[in-house]
Symmetry: C2
Subunit: 497 residues, 2 copies
């Protein structure tokens, strides 16, 4: 092959070629890929040795000695591509060397099994490059690098020990400011796939139990369930607000005979608190269902559903969990096949015996919750449990009081690793009782008349619960910040990107 | 059995019993249901003849002659329960007669096969009532009745013919004002299950093709993609707005290497227009994906995805489609196994040949779209087709112009029964071209700098599309109003219930 002929084996793809041209002769890239299929990097395995493949990915890294090494990355997966120096490849290698990291390239090459195992790539084959085309160029200097963003604390400590100088650490805020680059790290690629899996498992189990997925409105007249944490706006001259939960509408769906419903959708809270576990917008997983005679029917579902989600994550998402653990090491969640249930009174007693005095008719604060989590772990060897029969005083007005003692209610919270993740209860479905409870809680009954009226047209006993999707993966993987499991998080200080 | 003993066989369930009491002796209902399982009305079949069942449902209707007939309804399913007059049952029948329609009752009775087929119920067995308890009472006078709300136009016409007086027709607005009752009709029970099925089929197909489900924020700094149809609000002192689509963030997810993403979530449009097909809030089904070389890859997906959805609806949702058709008769959607693709130019030509002149570089109005739908149906025998290569001038600035003619773009719309349902395109992934296009469209580049910057860090060729979930079922079932497929619709005049 002449040098001139070889020059058609590399170069920049032209805009015209990328505009979906149908002309196979539009350019050298277009000609080179004609009739070829692309192979995913994650599919490159030893069985393919000897065959030619076409792959697209980002330049993760370029190294050159006698041989040019191009580490190609696609999602979290990497493969080493090589070009040996020769008279022919000389100009191609020069061309490659000037390409910036994160640029997209199409590589046509042959799969080979290297003599020594490749270190630092996920795939254990190598690609001998025949042709390389740059599909899209990244800026030479990026605000953060994927390499820095992917570094674990352990690696940073190691670099300090080895080189007397710590390798760069990208802080949470810088990550979020450059989220488009940050989410390219193997850990983040895994996290957002895990979030999707949780949603899938959640839906799968509920659909198998005759639940119907619904969508309730986020734009509400007036001020939602009230309170200060409401985003207010104006709709065509009317005062309106964003739903703080699908509570009222999911109950109305039950009054509308949908019997068992779930909703997955955004929930808006104008929180002032800037904590590791609160967002102004998160994805709510909400459930509401008819019950026949006892709120334990709801806890039975929580039990079965979450044991199914955790088990499925462990069984079906091994690669993703491994990728997360590599950057953020964590111990697998300890949970029982049959979820532990304690009453609030029993919890208070356990705390008391451990020297922590709490108000038996008040709520637990974050610290007591953590402490109780520890005690439960020691005594029952589980980091996932249900605490039920909460004091009526600390639950919303629509919570059904207990039959035997109105100071307690048919409600529950669920904890993972000492943090509350689920809140649920049997609801009051009798309008007169609902009105009375609202009054006792200082709520003007007139402002919620549509809601209360829904129960006048015949309503079944029912209950439900709500979970934050981002919290499930945060706590399952013991991550330290809810912003790590929200793709583009929103908090009191952040509305971008 | 003495009359006194028999009196434990009927009556109102007490509040105490409904508060999840654990005491099996708490009341006569609690004692009667102890150890029993509830059977769904839809599960009552002839094979169960002779066995005793416990069922819960609403009183759909009460009729009495020598025998008392109680039609019990659960979701869209109905069964006839009977009590023969006797000395014993006399008081029970009196008790039953005073119960209001839509009240919930628990019936314990024996399944029998009636001599004559039962008319007007979905189940073909009868229940001989032994015990009946009222779980919850509905008001005696309801704002609308389920019977009226479930009546078809055909039945109304028939009543006029038979009785010289039309049976009541519940108009759309009254339905929505009393949505909790309205959604109890068999047609509505079916519609909201169909909506859920569409979502399930959509997810199933995309997940099988390595798509990742994501959630992007609805709270945005500034003013979204701009335009007047934006809901504005304030977030902690900052101007903000509600996302009009996940467009920018789904593209950023692609720049973040998620490769193929979909999102199902609310989309907010501060529409002024009050039409049969627009809502201020609807559920968007959004897709964005890397493409290798041609935007036809996106159309291929649309084709496969929607043919799958339509086929699955027809095969797996027969009962639901039948229930809808009973109240709102419709012809099954005509679609091809391989979806027809026409270019915009071809569409314009077809219209021209039919005597309809349209601007070859303008958009089609609703009327031309309908007309073209008719022409396509006549010529190709399909009510579902793709129209692609739209004029660049009528598409958003981020649409990729065609390689061979910049006046056309790599974009498409998809139509069902003459109405646009999907809009999609290849996007401009090159920041310089994007800036130029934004400028040409009169958009201040500074206001979308975060978006444009996302493409500076390396971006793959990509594209996607968006669909309104409510429109899919509306058009598949040829319903005349989008409000029929939205559980609690929001339009310029409606923010409640």
């Amino acid at each position: 092959m002449s040098l001139e002929e070889f020059s058609s084996n590399y170069g920049d793809v032209t805009l015209n070629e990328l505009q979906s041209t149908a002309d196979p002769k539009a350019g050298k890239w277009r000609e080179a890929v004609e009739g070829k299929e692309w192979t995913d990097v994650s599919d490159l395995v030893e069985e393919m040795a000897g065959s030619e493949v076409l792959i697209r990915g980002r330049i993760n890294r370029l190294k050159s000695s006698k041989v040019l090494f191009l580490i190609l990355r696609q999602s979290g997966f990497t493969v080493q591509c090589v070009a040996k120096q020769s008279e022919e490849t000389d100009v191609m290698i020069k061309y490659l060397k000037q390409l910036s990291c994160e640029s997209f390239v199409d590589v046509i090459g042959v799969v080979v099994i290297p003599k020594d195992p490749v270190k630092g790539t996920t795939q254990q084959v190598e690609i001998q490059m025949r042709k390389v085309y740059c599909v899209n160029k990244a800026l030479t200097r990026l605000p953060i690098t994927v390499e820095d963003a992917a570094r674990s604390e352990e690696d940073i400590e190691k670099s300090l020990k080895d080189n007397k100088k710590a390798a760069p650490r990208v802080n949470q805020d810088t990550r979020l400011n450059n989220r488009v680059i940050d989410i390219r790290t193997p850990a983040n690629q895994a996290i957002f796939r895990l979030v999707c899996h949780v949603e899938n498992f959640f839906r799968e189990k509920l659909l198998s139990k005759a639940f119907v997925g619904i969508h309730t409105p986020k734009l509400m007249a007036g001020s939602s369930e009230g309170g200060s944490a409401v985003f207010r706006l104006e709709c065509k001259g009317q005062p309106a607000c964003l739903a703080q939960s699908p509570q009222l509408h999911k109950q109305m769906a039950i009054c509308g005979d949908l019997r068992r419903v779930f909703e997955i959708g955004p929930v808006f809270r104008a929180e002032d608190s800037f904590t590791h576990r609160h967002l102004c917008e998160f994805v709510g997983l909400d459930v509401e269902m008819e019950i026949h005679k006892h709120y334990s029917e709801i806890m039975d579902l929580v039990d079965e559903l979450f044991v199914f989600i955790f088990t499925s994550l462990n069984e079906k998402c091994k690669k993703e969990l491994e990728a997360v653990g590599k950057q953020y090491p964590f111990e697998p969640l300890k949970f029982l096949e049959k979820t532990l249930r304690l009453t609030f009174e029993e919890g208070v007693q356990m705390l008391k015996e451990a020297g922590v005095e709490v108000d038996p008719f008040g709520d637990l604060n974050t610290e007591s919750e953590r402490k109780l989590g520890q005690l439960v772990l020691e005594k029952y060897n589980t980091e996932f449990y249900i605490l039920h029969r909460y004091p009526t005083a600390v639950r919303p007005f629509y919570t059904m009081p207990c039959a035997d003692n109105p100071l307690y209610s048919n409600s529950f919270d669920v904890f993972i690793r000492g943090e509350e993740i689920i809140s649920g209860a049997q609801r009051v479905h009798i309008p007169e009782v609902l009105e009375k409870r609202a009054g006792e809680c200082g709520i003007d009954v007139k402002t919620i008349s549509t809601y209360i009226d829904s129960f006048r047209y015949g309503a079944p006993p029912h209950g439900g619960f709500g979970v934050g999707l981002e919290r499930v993966i945060m706590l399952f993987c013991a991550l330290n910040n809810i912003r790590k499991t929200s793709l583009f998080p929103r908090d009191p200080q952040r509305l971008t990107p």
